[in-house]
């Protein structure tokens, strides 16, 4: 009876935390506009660079896909990693801590809600990008493509949950760290060019970020002819590594949350604002 009740609370918390992201975020129309429009601006600028240097048309597809996937990375940075900092600033964090529920359920709700809302925006970016720039993709292996996409998201949001726990200790540094992790990650993960161009060593190091392997695998599956010479690893190997990263990040997130929450309590950082 006790156990059933705990599960009920867990899932109700997940749904409750996901709700504002799935429903609430759609109510603020300007956010929907900004979250689709801004990545599209970036994508369009990079598309015209490739057009100016007369790149093969598949590279336009790489950019559109990279732009859509960048929406997930931005969501992980600003709405997962930095979220507990915002909650601290707005006075919600104390309420989370005193609530009789699991903090992992709160993070999971944030992740699921963020994933859903960002997927809507990513679909919009891909659709508009394909229509605007006449991108054609060939889906050769749907099950592997879906597997790579879903596993990438699980690993990516697992990393977001881990970062969220780490950022619990931070004040303004959280904002700056998220800011800092935008362009460098766009570079090392190959958002706008194949990651292999950075060399095997850098690509291997960047593979700790799930989006690196996810993007490379999806590009191979959607643009098989073009990426033949520029592929990093085979999609099946990348899928296996992504699955491993997903499990690793979720376990680490759970451990880190307990550790950093205890540390933040001891150091009195849970309720400091305007830092």
């Amino acid at each position: 009876m006790r156990s059933r009740s705990a599960w009920t609370v867990f899932w109700r918390t997940v749904l409750g935390r996901a709700y504002p992201r799935i429903i609430g975020a759609q109510r603020e129309k300007s956010w929907v506009f900004f979250e689709i429009f801004l990545p599209l601006l970036q994508v369009t600028a990079y598309v015209y660079i490739y057009r100016a240097i007369e790149a093969p048309p598949e590279f336009i597809g790489f950019v559109v896909l990279g732009g859509a996937m960048s929406a997930y990375w931005l969501n992980v940075l600003w709405s997962m990693a930095s979220q507990l900092y915002w909650e601290k600033e707005t006075g919600n964090l104390e309420l989370y801590i005193v609530a009789p529920t699991s903090r992992m359920a709160i993070l999971l709700g944030m992740a699921l809600g963020g994933m859903f809302a960002t997927t809507l925006r990513a679909i919009a970016v891909i659709t508009i990008g394909m229509l605007l720039f006449h991108v054609s993709m060939t889906v050769q292996n749907v099950p592997v493509l879906l597997g790579v996409f879903v596993t990438t998201l699980v690993a990516l949001y697992g990393l977001g949950m881990l970062l969220s726990s780490l950022f619990l200790l931070f004040g303004r540094e959280a904002w700056h760290l998220s800011n800092l992790l935008q362009e460098p990650v766009s570079l090392v993960s190959g958002f706008y060019f194949p990651v292999r161009a950075l060399g095997q060593v850098v690509a291997a190091a960047a593979s700790i970020l799930p989006i690196t392997l996810g993007l490379d695998a999806m590009r191979q599956l959607l643009f098989p002819a073009m990426l033949g010479d520029l592929r990093f690893l085979s999609p099946e190997v990348e899928l296996g590594i992504l699955a491993g990263l997903a499990v690793l990040f979720l376990i680490l997130a759970r451990r880190a949350l307990g550790y950093f929450e205890a540390l933040a309590r001891r150091e009195g950082r849970l309720s400091i604002r305007g830092q």
């Binding site: 900004f34 979250e35 600028a45 015209y48 490739y50 790149a55 600033e89 362009e183």
Partner: protein, 285 residues
Amino acid sequence: MRADESRGEALRSLRVAAWLGWQIESNWADPFVFAIYSLVKPLAGALILVFMYAVIAKGGLQSPLFPGVFVGNALFIYVPAVLAGISWTIIDDREHYGMLKYVYTAPVNMLTYLVGRGVAKTMVATIAVVMMLLLGTLGLGVPIRLGDIDWPLVLGSLVLGSAMLAFFGILLGGVTLVTARHNYGVGEAVAGGLYLLCGVVFPLDTLPTWLSSIGRAIPITYWIEAWRRALLGQRTALFSGLSDGALVGIIAGSTAVLAVLAVLVFRLAERRARAKGLLDMQTMY
């Protein structure tokens, strides 16, 4: 006497706001970490371009387009820094620190206060621009030679460009005064649009005609062209018929128009914000 007092207040507001802006920007980390933080972002942005050219362009970094693109991208660091620096101040003071209403009750010249808050970001941007240009010259073969630089054009571009961007920032600050907080902020959104429309990383005529026409109506396009001419001695084909004097004239004229427009819009927005009680609005939901 009143004019002297007013000028004194404006200068004091500028100085104090610049100091405050610098503290907010930099005192969350030790100077070494802050220096790395300030350089890593623009460096990564530039390297994305470098790899795109290295992988695809015929001739890689020897492509004739590359130097102009690299310089345009390096100088564009100023644009989001100043625009977002000034307009984000409104959000930061109003919603994060809850101080905007107190700033309004103090003997502060709001326009110079906002410009002052943008000064810190401009200083950081200047270091990043210089480092990018050094990287380009020493590491990537961008042909900038000290002896060939057109220094008067550099000085003109720097002074006029700073004024133009500051007024652009004030204009956006006015818009921000009467709008809700957005995930990104008006400054970043506008900077993203300008990156696309002003021919920063590709020749403007690569865009469809209607988009390049918009780009040609934006003064920042001419400002970037002036920098390319000053540092590389390179004229973009689209503006090859435009003399350096005409270019500076366009930048100066559009800055003057922008100045009038920015102050007008800001004052109107300020009046509306007071009337609607928006000076202490909280939209951090």
